[in-house]
């Protein structure tokens, strides 16, 4: 690898360069005019738009950047990565809208420069994560994401809640990245390389001490499982989601999870693949029984998430457990180990992006008004905040998977993939879990509409901009719920992971 090839490979990381440049620009603008913070969100949106254009342009390329050998490199510019970059960018746009109207973020207005800088640190980390095809790059980008999100989780530093969330996050995160790094070091020792493609070609021909390889891989799975908040690595999720400022909670639950899933899928598919048959089923090397591991993680996440959510009184915390359960559903698609299952997971992700962000946004707007996220305080809000009440109900029903919302389509596609792969028992468990989840989602609706409140409260008005953002989030759920061909095609066209 010489300097010319490095420079010529820079065109493959144009989106990342745009994000990094925006990060620097935000720091500079904040330095030059420390008093005025109003321009920062718009600069951020501009940077995201430019990066978005580059990502869209990159669809269709399948090239390695920063080659370490003839047939593999550190960074894979492919459609699969671009798909998750789009998800991350969409989530970022919405989270910036959330931040503009969040009262928690307004309380730390002096530090908005750092806020957006760190947010771009997260985006940069996630961009490299979803395209990384080398364990070194995977580790560093995960750390870039984590370090920024530790600070953002504790951003409202004068409240105990936020600091406590941040401390818990940094401890759990530090331990899981330590475990993951130890796993990476063992894999490096066994194979002599950190590149996923080279590891794959080595484990195809050589045999290893089976147990060491298994333990090393499980260690890496711990680190990735932490990022996607799958049980049993989920212990940080409810605490951090509850304590962090709401825009950051929403961001962690969608973007950071998407990036974690992308790394997990790429890691499994590239490292352990033997061949893909013409139906798109992945024949994995029989070193590690990935299907059992993922099914186990997924059933644990669904069951634990749904059943613990039943007795939560704080809506943010309930949504945290619900997002653990959602991670369980999405893992099911990977457990199928076929292109069909992967497509189902990706479709679910598009839907999850809108419905989860929407639910968090409405919860944030309500908390801005009534200063509480307690489900008991939601009594009668259906009357005082009619629009927010209806949309919250809509987002929650979509999370539960009720037709005609897009959440229903997401679940149906997943279950079809499971049934096609003859995993009927798992599909039944997932279905039963959906029924359980309905109970706690509907409990919120009951408080919104059915509980009688004695005192008459005035109707609280919603600003036009916030209403518009809610409609931007709700419209796709309704549209994709009845006309889902575009997202299915989009997901189908972007499952190409470089090399396979």
């Amino acid at each position: 690898m010489n300097i010319d090839s490095i420079i010529s490979d820079l065109i493959f990381i144009k989106p990342e360069i745009a994000i990094a440049a925006t990060l620097v620009l935000i720091v500079l603008v904040d330095l030059i005019s420390p008093k005025s913070k109003t321009a920062l969100p718009y600069i951020s949106l501009l940077g995201i738009a430019i990066a978005g254009v580059f990502v869209v342009q990159q669809f269709g390329t399948a090239e390695f950047a920063f080659k370490t050998s003839l047939s593999s490199g550190m960074f894979a510019a492919d459609d699969f990565g671009s798909f998750f970059k789009i998800i991350v960018l969409l989530a970022s746009v919405f989270v910036i809208f959330f931040s503009i109207s969040s009262s928690e973020i307004k309380s730390v207005n002096d530090h908005l420069g750092e806020y957006y800088t760190l947010m771009f640190g997260m985006i940069l980390g996630m961009f490299f994560m979803v395209s990384a095809s080398d364990l070194v790059l995977i580790f560093i980008s995960i750390e870039l994401l984590s370090l920024s999100s530790y600070v953002l989780a504790g951003f409202v530093k004068n409240t105990v809640r936020s600091s406590e969330a941040s401390l818990k996050y940094v401890i759990y995160g530090g331990v899981s990245s330590g475990i993951m790094l130890f796993g990476i070091s063992l894999i490096y020792g066994l194979t002599g390389t950190t590149n996923l493609y080279e590891i794959n070609s080595i484990i195809q021909i050589q045999s290893f001490p089976h147990i060491t390889f298994l333990i090393a891989t499980l260690f890496i799975t711990v680190g990735l499982g932490f990022k996607i908040s799958a049980a049993p690595f989920h212990f940080w999720t409810p605490d951090v989601y509850e304590g962090a400022p709401l825009p950051i909670t929403a961001y962690l639950s969608v973007a950071s999870k998407a990036a974690g899933f992308a790394v997990l899928i790429r890691f499994i598919k590239i490292t352990f693949i033997n061949s893909i048959d013409h139906h798109g089923n992945w024949e994995l090397l029989n070193i590690i029984d990935w299907r059992s591991i993922i099914v186990l993680l997924s059933i644990l996440s669904m069951t634990l998430g749904n059943f613990t959510a039943l007795w939560q009184d704080n809506l943010k915390r309930m949504l945290a457990y619900s997002s653990i359960a959602q991670a369980g559903y999405m893992l099911l698609g990977i457990a199928v180990l076929s292109d069909q299952g992967l497509t189902a997971t990706m479709i679910y992700f598009i839907v999850y992006l809108f419905m989860n962000l929407g639910a968090f946004f409405v919860v944030m707007l309500i908390a801005n008004e009534i200063g509480s996220e307690d489900i008991e305080d939601y009594k009668g809000l259906g009357k005082t905040m009619p629009f927010l009440g209806v949309t919250l109900a809509f987002f929650l029903l979509s999370l539960a998977g009720i037709p005609p919302t897009a959440g229903f389509i997401g679940k149906v596609v997943l279950f079809i993939a499971l049934v096609d792969a003859n995993m009927i028992a798992v599909a039944v468990i997932a279905l039963l879990n959906t029924v359980v989840s309905l109970y706690y989602y509907v409990r919120v609706l009951k408080n919104l509409y059915l509980v009688q409140v004695d005192e008459e409260k005035p109707v609280i008005k919603l600003s036009f901009a916030n209403g518009f953002v809610i409609i931007l989030l709700a419209a796709p759920i309704l549209i994709f719920g009845v006309y889902f061909t575009p997202i299915v095609n989009f997901a189908k066209n972007s499952i190409n992971i470089l090399g396979f």
């Binding site: 070194v136 580790f139 560093i140 750390e143 370090l147 530790y150 600070v151 504790g154 530093k157 004068n158 409240t159 105990v160 809640r161 600091s163 406590e164 969330a165 941040s166 401390l167 818990k168 940094v170 401890i171 530090g174 331990v175 990245s177 330590g178 475990i179 790094l181 130890f182 990476i184 070091s185 063992l186 490096y188 020792g189 002599g192 390389t193 950190t194 409810p238 605490d239 509850e242 304590g243 613990t308 915390r317």
Partner: protein, 101 residues
């Protein structure tokens, strides 16, 4: 006489276990952070061992990245501990318990 590779690996595994046990049983947030650093350093030791054993340089380059990451993580961790200490006047993890189930 050369030290066999097993000795290094056993040492790093022991360091790693010390780190894990430290995280699990110590209640002082700063000591928990020291334990996390220990885990990262045990991985560093493994990387360097294998790098020298296999005669390829990826491991040693990786260690530099890990050291930078570990330094950043320590800085952020300590800053967060200070932020929490200002609010709560404690670094004992048993007393940091607003969130439960």
């Amino acid at each position: 006489m050369q030290i066999p590779i097993e000795y290094y690996l056993i040492l790093s595994a022991a360091l790693f276990m010390t780190g894990i046990v430290g995280v699990l049983i110590r209640r002082n947030a700063i000591i928990v952070f020291m334990s996390i650093e220990l885990m990262l350093n045990s991985a560093n030791l493994t990387l360097i061992t294998f790098s020298s054993y296999l005669g390829n340089s990826i491991g040693q380059i990786f260690v530099f990245f890990v050291m930078a990451v570990a330094a950043a993580e320590a800085a952020i961790g300590l800053a967060i501990i200070i932020a929490l200490f200002r609010n709560k006047l404690t670094v004992n993890l048993d007393e940091i318990n607003i969130f439960k189930w």
